[in-house]
Amino acid sequence: MNQLISYTAGLLKLPETSFREGGNHEAYVTLPGEGLGEAMFRLEKEFGLAALFCVQNFSGEEGFTLFYAFEKSGCPDMLIIQRELAGTQTTSIARRFPSACWYEREISDGFGIEFINAFDKRRLFLHEAYPAGFHPLLKSFRNQPMETIKDIPPENEYRFREVEGEGVYQIPVGPVHAGIIEPGHFRFSVIGETIFNLEIRMFYKHRGVEKLAEGKTPTECVPIAESISGDETAANATAFCIAVEKVSGIEVPPRAWQLRTVFLELERIYSHLGDLAGMITDVAYPVGASGFYILREEILRQNAALTGSRFLKDSICIGGLKRDVAPDKLRGLSEYMTSFPARLGRALDLVHRSSGVIDRLDTTGVIRKELVGPIHITGPAARASGVDTDTRIDHPYGIYSRFPLTKHVREKGDVMCRFEVKAEEILDSVDIISRLTGQMRQGDTCSSAGIKDGHALSMVEAPRGQTVQWVRVKGGLVDRWKVRTASCCNWRAIEHAVMGNIVPDFPLINKSLNLSYAGTDL
């Protein structure tokens, strides 16, 4: 922590005493009103913007505070720049940190704050149905069902980027798609069959996650965290619980952390298996996909045996776990895992022997390494593009520092690389589970310590990458909860990955990242 503080203090020319340590390996520093542009310039080279969010009435007085959370490669601690706004205006940083674009639009929608000099000021999660001047995250708005606009005049419709030129035409796709998948709109500008530009419009599934949590006890919010994205139930619930546990100084018993880790890795296995199956389905090779689907179904059944839910719902709670897992169920999991790597190997073999599959996966949908930093691409997508990042290793939480984890990195950044990275990560997760089930500690699975007030940042490596959450507890209730899932960052990578590819490869590229719409739309 001291290393980060002294380094940043030198970089930003601020006294070390102006930094304040947070609850969970994060350092806060308040930036004076004028210095934002200068500070961003200094941070640009070495820091990545992990999240940007707004909190109302943070310092006791009326007003807005912006928090810019930065990650520095090789540094386990996070830097959070805090800025008190004098009114409802501030300068945009999206030209220096492009990943800020969505965050700023999100803050504009939620709080009505204007970002001067922003290159995109369109509304984000509030679609046309919401009236102008409506800002749901303001404390003055009481969360309740509301009337929306039913007849939207054409001039109020969302304006997509126009691409003009000879032979250029547009293909609008969605929000309702042909398959059983989530809703989102893709606007392709195409020349012949080649994609020239893609603009993605999300937030069709906006359910009001962050507002719903306000005024509830942290315990009541765990089911909301689980519903951020169904296939990342354990990751999001764990991230939320870590933040509250750090705020309250709750020690989670060792057995609970072991079981949480088993759940988190099971989630990674079934999620990655679904991705592998999806990619192979999308190149029209259902025989090759079925091996992965069979294994995924078996993992979902293991989840149900351990927790009663195929998606591990209703099992993680603040302080540990709601219920212990019976020893015979863990033995069953351990026995099941012994034959798993060989069976996965056979399924992978079938894929690798098919020249038709290799032909479709290889060189398709390249995400260039240079984009990883500016867009803050995370998880397997970043690793497949040559960037060795993994929250489990970079910012260890729980008991992950005890495992000899490796980062599986590929250089080319195409669909094939993402396929291979995910396949290797499944085997790593199997290894972690096998080690854990062999050395389970006995004892309690939940701490009974009470919840205290405060705020903290927490990060967890979900199957799709880094999940960031920031929780503020005030008077025993959640005052503000910011969620930023890996999908929120990686969606913008797809816009770049598809360029120059043909339209029929879009489903494959999309599946190779398999992002959560629910986790982005909140």
């Binding site: 069902p145 994205s229 689907y293 069979i294 739309d521």
Partner: protein, 176 residues
Amino acid sequence: MKVYQADMLKQFSRIFQPKLAERYADKDFEALGIELKQSISSVFGRSLAIREVDSGSDNAAEIELVNLTTPYYDIERFGVSFVASPRHADVLVITGSVTHNMEIAVRKTYEAMPYPKLVVAVGDDACDGGIWKNTYAVNGGADRVIPVDIKIPGNPPTPREIMLGLLALMKSIRKK
């Protein structure tokens, strides 16, 4: 060349091996599937075409619906298929609490369906809004926006529960 022939022979001999799906057969599920197939036959002649629209679920319900088509379940054996357009659908499956941002798309999908326009709400949030019930962003249940014939609760319902729901839908139509 020799290797290639040996490989061919191996592939060919698989025809006589027990089928992969038989290895995973589950007697109760098979019985349920056959019952569903018979009830579909008595109402729709032969098959049931389903269109799925997600109106704001947490995506777990979609995963379970996809699972119905995977080797363990393979629901197409029982006359149920998932189709790509509402214009080809007998049944519209809605997941999610119908967010305001999805409301128009849900209405348009329903309007595009041919009669009898059956609608099934899958999952707690599609049934009555679930945990999102009183937020500003959702309508709170599919029946707030379009008529719903049957509700299959669960967070999310398992593939088996979805099958039972479809069976109940067929039975309710037959009674009418």
